[in-house]
């Protein structure tokens, strides 16, 4: 950074735009507050005092317009799948999806004979992070969010997101 070094004492920090935007985005993974089944209980527990998701800047938002991350926590029934898809479409770019638990990953316990269950939410929306478990513990969800942070930090901001 040569010429500008030490010109403004310590009040100015020089970085690239990519890094700045990615840093701020990854530090505020606001997730969409909705749960579909038992996995949602673990998600709530992750958000509550003991695991405290907010220390990672992740807090629940009740509107898709304000959310950056959709955590699909639970069984995606075919009836709900149409709604999940619409809610995903209503979220503003850049947006990410975490598929939490076996149900959202692959249909889980309903993968056979589950006449009403979608076998994996990735059939209708693109998924960034898969978290295994039935249900995954809050620690697993936190790890998923941290992986997502890493993914966000490595992304060129102005490039178009591929679907």
């Amino acid at each position: 950074m040569g010429a500008l070094n030490h010109k403004f004492n310590e009040n100015i920090l020089i970085t690239s735009l990519d890094k700045l935007l990615n840093w701020s985005r990854s530090g505020s993974e606001w997730y969409f507050q909705f749960g579909l089944a038992c996995c949602a209980i673990e998600m709530m527990s992750a958000a509550a005092a003991r695991h405290d998701l907010e220390r990672f800047g992740a807090m629940p938002r009740s509107s898709p317009r304000q959310a950056d991350v959709m955590i699909v926590a639970g069984t995606v029934t075919l009836k709900m799948a149409t709604r999940v898809k619409r809610l995903y479409e209503q979220m503003a770019e850049p947006k990410y999806v975490i598929s939490m638990g076996s149900c959202a990953n692959s249909g889980g316990p309903y993968w056979q004979h589950g006449y009403h269950v979608l076998k994996g939410v990735d059939q209708i929306i693109p998924v960034d992070i898969y978290i295994p478990g039935c249900p995954p513990r809050p620690e697993a969800l936190i790890e998923g969010l941290l992986h997502l942070q890493k993914k966000m930090r490595e992304e060129p901001v102005l490039a178009k997101k591929e679907d």
């Binding site: 075919l78 009836k79 799948a81 006449y115 979608l118 076998k119």
Partner: protein, 162 residues
């Protein structure tokens, strides 16, 4: 009052509309009655001083076997007199028709819609008989033993490709 006594009284009053009394092989002693007469019988049980069945605990559809008829089971309780009775009706698989009790017990409204949704049993006289759990455009009645799942629902594959 015991179930046996209630059965005796019902068959005296309703004759051949009360078909049989099942004690063995069931969890609760059950009175099997005629599907078209169920509303009348239930009204009688509710209004009569000696029975006072003021609450319908549960109403459930049932399909035991592809060959057999569908059935509906009613669990009544009297919170006043503290006695119970289980009623059961059978109806044909091809044209399942049962008289609705939704106007007698409000509980039955959603329960009957559920039995309609999953077993396709038509409750005659129900004020608003439509699907309650599945989408309106769903085809078939999934809890029936002869149900074959469709391949797709609104473009989403239902069974996983092996």
């Amino acid at each position: 009052m015991t179930e046996q006594e209630i059965y005796a009284d019902l068959s005296k009053k309703f004759g051949d509309k009360v078909i049989e009394f099942m004690e063995e092989g069931t969890l609760n002693p059950t009175v099997v009655v005629d599907a078209a007469a169920i509303a009348k019988i239930v009204t009688y049980l509710k209004d009569d001083e000696r029975f006072q069945f003021d609450s319908l605990m549960n109403l459930a559809g049932h399909d035991g076997d592809v060959e057999a008829d569908l059935s509906v089971i009613y669990h009544l309780v009297s919170t006043e007199l503290k006695h119970y009775i289980t009623l059961k009706v059978f109806t044909s698989r091809v044209e399942p028709k049962v008289a609705s009790v939704a106007v007698i017990y409000r509980t039955a409204n959603w329960h009957e819609r559920e039995a309609f949704d999953l077993y396709g049993i038509n409750f005659e006289g129900h004020p608003d008989l439509k699907r309650i759990l599945l989408e309106d455009d769903w085809e078939g009645y999934p809890l029936r033993k002869d149900y074959v799942p469709a391949e797709f629902y609104r473009g989403m594959r239902i069974e996983k490709v092996k």
